[in-house]
């Protein structure tokens, strides 16, 4: 039990996927302009990340390793992710057409969210078990979502700030992300690994 709690603390705080591991940055920068879209994106990404983390583990264990096809890992993982995203799109479309409309193009973009493929590959690198992979994927998603939503709220505040012209837009957004990353350095050493 503590082992899973430690994985969660590690992925959400100590090694936050966005601010420390540099994964999931494109949606982090692209979607965070509005708070509503950020919340929707966070939910969708959490679902996709956890599910694809589990599925890629299964594919790796029972297909790639047993058939000796490790070199096809990248291709198979991206296919798994594409399928999961497609499935998620269908689920969202059926359950909440409003959410589907809000998210628009962002849903299929989760396929190119390097955090999703990154989690799948890191699970293999760290030799996680099934449960560890699931918790790891979920934790990564929680870390991503939390930071995305906080960043969106910050960006709305910065929008009305008197930023120098050259810095307006992506430049000040990146500097803000850097200061957020600075704050997260406080969690270093929380997990003695």
């Amino acid at each position: 039990m503590t082992e899973y709690a430690l994985i969660l603390v590690s992925t959400v705080l100590v090694n936050n996927f966005v601010l420390v591991k540099f994964l999931g940055l494109c949606p982090f920068m692209g979607v965070s302009r509005k708070l509503e879209t950020s919340t929707g994106m966070a939910l969708a990404t959490t679902f996709v990340l956890t599910l694809s983390s589990i599925c890629s583990y299964l594919v790796n264990e029972y297909l790639l390793i047993s058939l000796g096809l490790e070199y096809l890992r990248t291709i198979s993982f991206i296919l798994v992710i594409a399928v999961v995203v497609q499935f998620t799109e269908m689920v969202v479309h059926k359950t909440s057409p409003l959410l589907y409309q809000v998210l628009g193009i962002f849903l299929p973009l989760i396929t190119t969210n390097c955090a999703v493929l990154g989690v799948a590959l890191l699970n293999v690198q760290e030799q996680h078990s099934f449960m560890q992979s699931a918790v790891y994927g979920f934790g990564a998603a929680v870390g991503f979502s939390m930071v995305l939503i906080l960043f969106a709220a910050l960006r709305e505040r910065i929008l009305v700030a008197d930023v120098p012209v050259a810095f307006r837009g992506p430049a000040i957004a990146l500097i803000t992300a850097g200061l957020m990353s600075l704050a997260f350095m406080g969690f270093a050493g929380l997990i003695k690994s």
């Binding site: 810095f167 000040i172 200061l179 929380l190």
Partner: protein, 300 residues
Amino acid sequence: MSTPSSPYVHTAGSVTTVMLRVIYALLPGIAAYVWFFGWGVAVNIVFAVVVALVCEAGMLALRGRPLKPFLLDGSAAVTAVLLALALPSLAPWWMTLIGTAFAIIIAKQLYGGLGFNPFNPAMIGYVVLLISFPREMTLWLAPEMVSGHSMGETMSTNPIFGHLGGKGWEWINGLFLLGGLWLIYKKVISWHIPVTVLGSLALMAAVYFLIDRDLYASPLFHLFSGAAILGAFFIATDPVTASTTPRGRLYYGAGIGVFTYIIRTWGGYPDGIAFAVLLMNMAAPMIDYYTRPRVFGHKD
């Protein structure tokens, strides 16, 4: 989400009054600091204030803004004083320079100056120095060495922002406490944040202290060591970067207390208050969004 109104100050005059009062409230504690640890900190403070004013003037000039009203509002000076208090008295001059410049230029002026910065500039400057120069940030003088009594080794951590407990310490923090209470009395700051910061810190400390007396420090120890009091009354209360709604402030302060305890007890840094403040700065817009007062007659 509509941006809740920030506590914009309307005239430079009132900002200056506030800042001056903050500096007055700090003076007793600073005096005690000098008494126990020597003139190093005073030199750091003066140097940091000069650097801060130069940086602010430079940025204002580059952006074509009027210098006088902003330089005289005292906010850069307060940032410099707070940062200098965090630095070791033996810190090399270039460290003070880098920290102060980073705080004023990047954490404050790039966002448009006073009122627009999302993060507390002094804490940003401090954390930048802490993670970039870990060795230098731990060089301190023991009080004995300053008065020439013994040849004690340099203390390994910062009396205010690092070392927990110790000689001279309780006096310094006690005087900061008095200064902070005076600020509340003068209505410069409200009670919400200092009470919740210290309260949540003490509460968490009490809980763990009761669980295991030997492993965890007592609440009183936590309150009077490190920068808890300085942070609660002078740093966390920065109106620009804190939560602005009354209920929000309670959550904001509580968060700072909790994170401070967590980082102090289980994290890799001796004092977590700088990081705790920055983390809650990050959360403040969200806290404001969820605690904004309902306007009657409007559907949310």
